[in-house]
Amino acid sequence: MKQKINERLDLARRFARRLTEQDAVHDELDRQLEEDPGLKELYEDIAANLHAVNMEPTGREEWMDFERRYLFSGRRRRNLIFRYAAVACVLVALTVGLSLYFSGQEEPPVVISSGGNLPTLSVSDQVYALDSAGIKQFAQQHVIMQQTEKELTYRVDTVAPVTPEWHTIRVPRQAEFTLVLADGSRVRLNTNTTLRYPVPFTGSTRDVWVEGEAFFEVSPDQAKPFVVHFEDNHVTVLGTAFNVSCYKQHPSRTTLVRGSVSLSNSLDSVVLLPGQEGIIRASGENITVREADVNVVTAWLNDRFYFKELPLSEIMRTLGEWYDVKVRFDRESTAAMLFSIETRRYEDIDSVLRILESTKKVSFTRKGNMIEVRSNL
């Protein structure tokens, strides 16, 4: 066979020469073609389709993609959110009270990681802290995991069927984490978020469960749709980048950045266009679709807060979640005051509160874990 392959490699060069000959030149090739009708048919087919061939040289970004995916450098990857449109993002909210029909087991108790602010990975009943040391030992055949401080990458080194395992990642307050799944999909997890997923994906769809907030960039695979589940809802990825915010006891918000997703709950199903978001307030209600400000929704990806004309109650709610504090307002009208503010996600809440105070409209008093808000007007 190797010999035959080499013969064909030579033949191809002679075909190429023949194709670029303007005048009919009777040479050895012509004789060969006359003697072998099968070969002649092949040549004529190749010639007939030449006009449709892409003649552009392969761009360097193609190599860089290969390098990134296969030749791990060990260095932290760049922020790849808006890299190229081939990636689909799915945000799925995982509900903590997930039905566990996959494993049929009891949901393992919520682990308070000893590291306080460290994300954790649970597989069966083993819990690993995802610290800077990385996952040292992991026993699942054919599954290779590489972890840096803020990112965990999966690879499956065989195309043979592998028995899947359930993995759960929990990201605590004031932390975030990036996951690269075995199919190449990238998931950025925001604070206070849990993601549950099978490794590797088997079956006809790729399903994950989320609660909290995550930004998905899904690897396109037309044969295997990527579905993000949160509570009774799910987002089916049709090739896309999107953000899902679905914290418990809050309306969920699915924002589409690029591509196309279909968002469904028990009652309703909508297809979102880029720049739109679907709000699900409660189970059993229809989905509300409206225009989104993508920059506001994805500010967290750049480690920023971006509140656009929001009532103070909502702003303080988000800050309260991130910094783990409670908030009390002196009056209802204070809570209803509208603010627009865009700032870094600081280490401590005081820096953000100072920015709000600089508007001279409100003042804050901090008593331990409780923030009191007073109107100056």
Binding site: I5, A12, L42, H51, M55, F66, D221, A223
Partner: protein, 178 residues
């Protein structure tokens, strides 16, 4: 050879052959993204077995064979939407299909590689001609006379043939000197 030199050498192998391998995979799978993944997998196999001393033919032979195997794995796992490959299903496993596809992809690769070695003007003319435009259409597009086009074409193709032949001659010569 240093690791970084080896990587550089591999990078140029990748850039030179990737498109051909990807198109090759696509003829088995009829799925652009999947074909791209399989092509990358094939190159990764090459990387794991890479020796910079390999000749072009050895590298290409390896890549086409590895790519075919990756595609077969995909087909066997029925990861490909059945309806897309129904027509090809019986033929796609044959050796004849394999060899014919290699011939096809290699022919296109060589033409592409050679065209991209031409100076800009000649490349432009050659591309337009290959794409099927008539001399008159090209003359209109470039806003020159049809005689100019005919001359430019003649020169471009002469250069192109030289490039292709030189590669060929070099390969023949190498056979004698190695």
């Amino acid at each position: 050879m240093k690791a970084s030199e080896e990587r550089k050498r591999f990078e140029s192998v990748y850039l030179d052959y990737f498109q051909a391998i990807r198109d090759f995979c696509n003829s088995f799978l009829k799925d652009g993204e999947l074909a791209r993944d399989m092509a990358q997998d094939a190159f990764f196999s090459l990387w794991n077995n890479f020796d910079p001393a390999y000749s072009e033919k050895e590298i290409l032979s390896f890549l086409y064979t590895a790519a075919r195997n990756k595609c077969f794995d995909q087909l066997r796992l029925q990861k490909v939407v059945e309806s897309k490959i129904r027509d090809l299903k019986d033929t796609v496993y044959s050796d004849m299909f394999f060899l014919d596809e290699i011939t096809r992809r290699e022919t296109y690769r060589i033409v592409r590689e050679s065209i991209n070695k031409l100076p800009d003007r000649s490349r432009q003319i050659a591309l337009l001609t290959l794409q099927g435009f008539s001399s008159q259409e090209i003359a209109d597009q470039l806003d020159v006379s049809i005689n100019t086009v005919k001359t430019l074409k003649k020169n471009a193709y002469a250069k192109l043939r030289e490039i292709i032949s030189n590669q060929y001659v070099i390969l023949i010569l190498l056979k004698y000197f190695i």
